[in-house]
Amino acid sequence: MKRWFKSLISLILIINAKLGIAQMNEISNAGLTNEITLNAMGKGGWWSIDYVKRIFKYQSLQLKTNIGYSTYHLMDFENKFNPDIIIPLGGAVQYGKKHKIIVEMGLTIQRLVVMEDIKKSIWNQDLYFGIQCRYSISKTLFLQGGLFNLKNNQQKKYLWPSFSVGYRF
């Protein structure tokens, strides 16, 4: 049998074995209703850390709420500690057993430091909407990736990717 064909068969078997393990992990994850996710890009802009709470579960369907934190600048343009604050706040519908699809929607509340005649903070709020896929690594760890549609208060739309790693507890 040709080497490339053997390699392909081996790869398929490995992937299926991993998926099998993921499925077994999902059965024992029923009691884990809390999550912490660390996100690169996504609804926080460049990054965010989110706490997610499951509030409802029926078979493969779950409803969740989340609150997060992000910032762009810890030091403002005068080099003083004065972070911009971005708080994503919203909910999600998750569906799936082995691989999950997650539809998220919510609001980001921002406190930004800008210069007018003097330095001041302004408050904004914007909507976000996103779709992500989740892959479980183990009982407690998962990877997630997707796209968000971010709409800022100036009506500019961003199609923004998201990559996350999360921990369930």
Binding site: Y72, E78, N79, Q110, V114
Partner: protein, 273 residues
């Protein structure tokens, strides 16, 4: 055997230590001016030419900043890089086709959520003047202007130079050598830099028009003999100095005005931070 291995490891560490230390011995040119490119540069989360970016650069102890200057339909001079608003802001169309009333409501859009305004040049100069900085005004697009717009631009810019010259060392940069020489006649203390693409062609043209210097993309300077750079009668300004290695090389090549993305690093290797 163990002793032998120990000695080898010690020797390796000693060699690494010596090599590492020898990297920092170069005496970099401290006479080069550190100019923030559009403020904090292209890669900053503060948009280029935003007031916040300029202020950040000055608080980082830059000698000055480079500002891209354009004129609106109603004669206001603003700080903005691109010809078309949609490349960096919530607006649409050319700057020169919009009034200030429209532009003042626009925001930069480089990242989600951030909300920085497009500013009048007057406002920027007013905020920066307290540092008594060097300001390089990179004049965009005047060679496309008809006579009326040309005069309007020249008059409005001249008014600002007169107002802020006691506090700011102005340098004007443009592709239009004739316009630069006219500005030099009106303002003898003003430094003029000819924006060019080829070192030798730009040098010859600048000398012909009796300008003070030339401004080139840094990659153009990299290919020029050091001797030619050092013997040039003109001031040399470089933009697009992005990488740390580029900044080091700009100092080695005695570039007078380094329009940098790495203000802190450049000041550090000059021993000024």
């Amino acid at each position: 055997m163990a002793q032998f291995l120990c000695r080898i490891s010690f020797l390796k560490l000693a060699i690494i230590f010596l090599l590492f230390n020898s990297c920092n011995k170069y005496d970099y040119n401290q006479e080069s001016y550190v100019i923030g490119h559009g403020g904090m540069g292209v890669t900053s989360t503060y948009p280029m030419n935003s007031l916040e970016s300029f202020l950040k650069a000055m608080h980082h102890k830059a000698d000055g900043v480079e500002i891209d200057v354009q004129m609106t339909k109603d004669g206001e001079l603003i700080a903005f890089h691109d010809e078309f608003l949609e490349h960096r802001s919530t607006g649409k169309g050319k700057i020169e086709d919009q009034s200030w009333e429209t532009i003042q409501n626009l925001r930069y859009t480089n990242y989600p959520y951030l909300s920085y305004k497009i500013r009048k040049l007057d406002e920027v100069l007013s905020q920066l003047s307290k540092w008594q900085p060097i300001i390089i005004l990179d004049i965009k697009s005047i060679y496309d202007y008809d006579e009326h717009k040309y005069l309007l631009f020249k008059n409005n810019l001249s008014e600002l130079i007169i107002e802020y010259q006691p506090y700011i060392q102005f340098i004007v940069e443009s592709k239009d050598a004739l316009w630069l020489s006219q500005m030099k006649e009106d303002f003898p203390e003003l430094l003029t830099l000819l924006y060019g693409y080829d070192f030798y062609i730009a040098q010859d043209e600048a000398v012909e028009f009796e300008l003070d210097g030339i401004a080139l993309d840094f990659k153009e300077y990299k290919s020029i003999d050091l001797e030619d750079l050092e013997s040039s009668p003109l001031l040399l300004s470089a933009f697009n100095v992005h990488l740390k290695s580029d900044n080091r090389r700009a100092l080695e090549r005695s570039i007078d005005y380094i329009q940098t993305e790495q203000i802190d690093y450049l000041l550090k290797i000059q021993g000024r931070k």
